[in-house]
Subunit: 463 residues, 2 copies
């Protein structure tokens, strides 16, 4: 990482960005909070929403709270975290060697965090592994390695810069002989609403592994870095191809490639510029210049609209007419299923994405020669791509499917909510499931159970 | 769960326990904080520690902070969490059925939390799965299911009571048609220092699965409960044998069976009684009566002592004497290893346990006919069973092994720290690794790497 210009570092990383009024006023009255709330109302209006609708009336405040808490790192300093948590530990007494407070490696693995993508303003997940080699017979409380990492994660970030800042911050804060950082980052994938060409089993995450190292870990003639990676391997973390330290790269954010930035609504982009300013950021910083337009383009995927549905290759025949033809099918009591239809949506409470899969079960009250999966997928997308709550999405899909395939319909929606892994709650790995049942399914609990049991175990984590 | 006496419930669960002075004074000056700090000093003194030693000087404050934050649920109310997060959602419009805000199941799975065991005062991990059936066309923000659970987790608890209180709290708070709760709890195992008979591959966790249900989930003629469990199965959560709702059981806490409660030091037990009072609990509550003596007995496993080591079956022979006999072994450059020696220790910063495995590698400068693994295990335990930091533990093991097996020694300690999964940090699944190297290992990085690569992938979670 080279020599540290520590004076510069103090100003840039430790002091962060000064925000006025934090101490004097309560959070709800602070001008930054109010400015973000105003900006979010502009965004909701731009989406065609009624800002006084009960579900979203408090969304501006929720978004302001989440964004300000989620970028609290600008107001935190490494030295405040580390202060009082540096402990004297003797080095080895017998013979030459390293250990205790003198040169023996210390590693903390598998720390879950989240950060905000500077390119699109969405949160991304970080699994963090940090090591250091103590010097000066001084060790730091183990939890501080996680807390210091969080200072830099709670800012608008790019994975490589985050890794570098954590590395520099720890090197500087604990005066280590060397610091090693590996971050496994996962960014939500951007659906392309226009073409709706989502891969059927898309995991929904763009992944990136970044590394940063200083001091002894940069020494090519020693194995310190290789040793650090071996410690990660004990825990099942294989570093296949590590990016080189501090290398310049294209942004990993899918907004850079998959979103065609539309001619942006200037009121909305100006609102996002105002949010950046309220968070204490400089909207003219090179990496942030395109962020408002990208965020608005992403958000406009979820504008309030009634998408017209065009059933293709969908032939309806009355069951009675088939019976008349002597063509009675004895499997008519079987449940037909379409499983794992992917969906994308936007939580109207927090303006954060949620995504997952939809399972549809139905009895063929109407006999259909050919149920086109893409038509069901179209129904799912038409209700996904708007501000939603998962319960309503589930109900709307069920009602619409019933219009086309008969009244006996059951819908299960399984989702990961970005609002559950970010914000104060930070429940990584949590997952929700909602159900709507119509017709026969509402009275026949054996039918419900039969359909549920036909759904395969879909357990998968974001990693 | 039967009818709720809601007035009673309001008082017992919602108001929790009143704590004076919380608003007027800063946390550090509050009498409860100061009383816990005093009590912790008594405990440290009883362990034979110098309360002014730098590593533990701030431990009383750290323990007070962790305990009071970790039992903040006594001062929180369900209605404050749920208030403002109940949203109107229409039920199904077409045909009969359930969905949206009317009867369609809503499930949140895999929420990680921790709670405090009322039997021994140690934190335990909770993986929480909650479902409910909305009524009155009202749904609750998904994150509130986790937040309400946390109110009851952040108290001194027993798994079954925790499940029942979460169930009642949600039923009451969101007026659901039914609430279903499954908790997978993991309690740290208690080592028996006296006999030191730890199973070699002990996972270190006692596990318990508890369930609680109300409303429609209690209806034996419907499948609602079976449907809920099927939703958990999608995520790989198999409920093999669920405890019956509200059944009385023996405490799961290992302190009830594995610890022989010694004649307790009355100053220390009185100190723990004072801690219980400061947390707002009633030390005379039936479940808490034996807690101070059990906690002190557990703590006294880690009293400051110099355990005498007795090498058994351990024959030292000078390498030279073997050479003289013409018995030169060409594998003398091979690294000998003892892997996965279990250890237990107590973090001196937080008075919380950490445990894991020790790997020892050495070159036989002294040729030993038979290295008794139990002797190395004895060295590990003698440094484990005291107030420690992981770095010092690693160094002390290395130095002591070197005294017996020659100067070329490498020690790796892999640990899970209770202080990393509880307290404010709550980094579930995180794991630390520390290294000490002596003699040849300190200069030969290839030897270090070779030893590290001989350690098998030990990835395992607490579940």
């Amino acid at each position: 990482m080279g020599a540290l210009d520590e004076g510069h570092f103090d100003v840039e990383l430790e002091n962060g960005v000064k925000l006025g009024g934090c101490i004097e006023l309560g959070f709800e009255e602070q001008p930054e909070t109010l400015a973000i709330e105003d900006a979010v109302r502009v965004l909701l209006h731009g989406l065609g929403e009624d800002v006084n609708r009960e579900g979203i009336r408090k969304t501006p405040f929720r978004v302001a709270k989440a964004l300000r808490e989620g970028t609290r790192g600008y107001r935190q300093k490494v030295k405040d975290i580390v202060h009082g948590a540096l402990f004297p530990e003797a080095g080895l007494e017998s013979g030459g060697g390293h250990g205790g407070g003198a040169g023996g490696m210390v590693i903390v693995r598998d720390v879950d965090l989240f950060s905000y993508c500077e390119s699109c303003l969405l949160p991304f997940q970080v699994k963090c592994h940090v090591g250091y080699v103590p010097s000066g017979h001084r060790v730091v409380g183990l939890s501080k390695l996680s807390r210091v990492t969080d200072i830099f994660a709670k800012r608008l970030q790019d994975p490589q810069r985050l890794a570098d800042e954590v590395c520099k911050g720890l090197q500087h804060g604990i005066r280590a002989a060397g610091v090693a950082v590996v971050l496994q980052c996962a960014h939500i994938h951007f659906p392309n609403f226009e073409s709706r060409k989502l891969e059927p089993n898309h995991q929904g995450w763009t992944k990136m592994l970044v590394t940063s190292r200083s001091g002894v870990y940069e020494n090519e003639s020693s194995n310190d870095w290789a040793e650090f990676l071996t410690h990660l391997r004990f825990r099942g973390i294989e570093i296949v191809e590590a990016c080189s330290n501090g290398s310049l790269q294209q942004s990993w954010c899918p907004s850079q490639s998959s979103l065609k930035v539309a001619t942006a609504n200037s009121a909305m982009t100006n609102a996002v510029v105002s949010i950046l300013q309220s968070l204490g950021e400089d909207p003219l910083r090179r990496e942030l210049v395109g962020t408002p337009a990208r965020f608005v383009t992403w958000l406009m995927n979820f504008r309030c609209s009634n998408v017209e549905m065009k059933p293709n290759g969908f032939v309806r025949t009355q069951k009675d007419s088939i019976k008349t033809n002597g063509n009675v099918r004895h499997d008519e009591e079987d449940i037909s299923t379409e499983l794992n239809l992917s969906f994308w949506s936007q939580c109207e409470h927090h303006l954060l994405p949620f995504h997952g899969v939809v399972h549809i079960g139905y009895y063929q009250a109407v006999v259909v020669d050919h149920v086109d999966r893409s038509f069901l997928q179209q129904i799912v997308h038409s209700y996904g791509f708007k501000l939603q709550v998962q319960e309503r999405l589930t109900r709307q899909i069920a009602e619409t499917v019933a219009l086309h395939l008969g009244e006996d319909v059951m819908v299960v929606v399984e989702a990961s909510h970005t609002c559950m892994i970010s914000r104060g709650i930070e429940k990584f790995g949590s997952n929700t499931s909602t159900v709507a049942v119509l017709g026969k399914f509402s009275s026949d609990s054996a039918a419900r159970l039969k359909f549920l049991q036909s759904i395969p175990n879909s357990f998968q984590t974001a990693e």
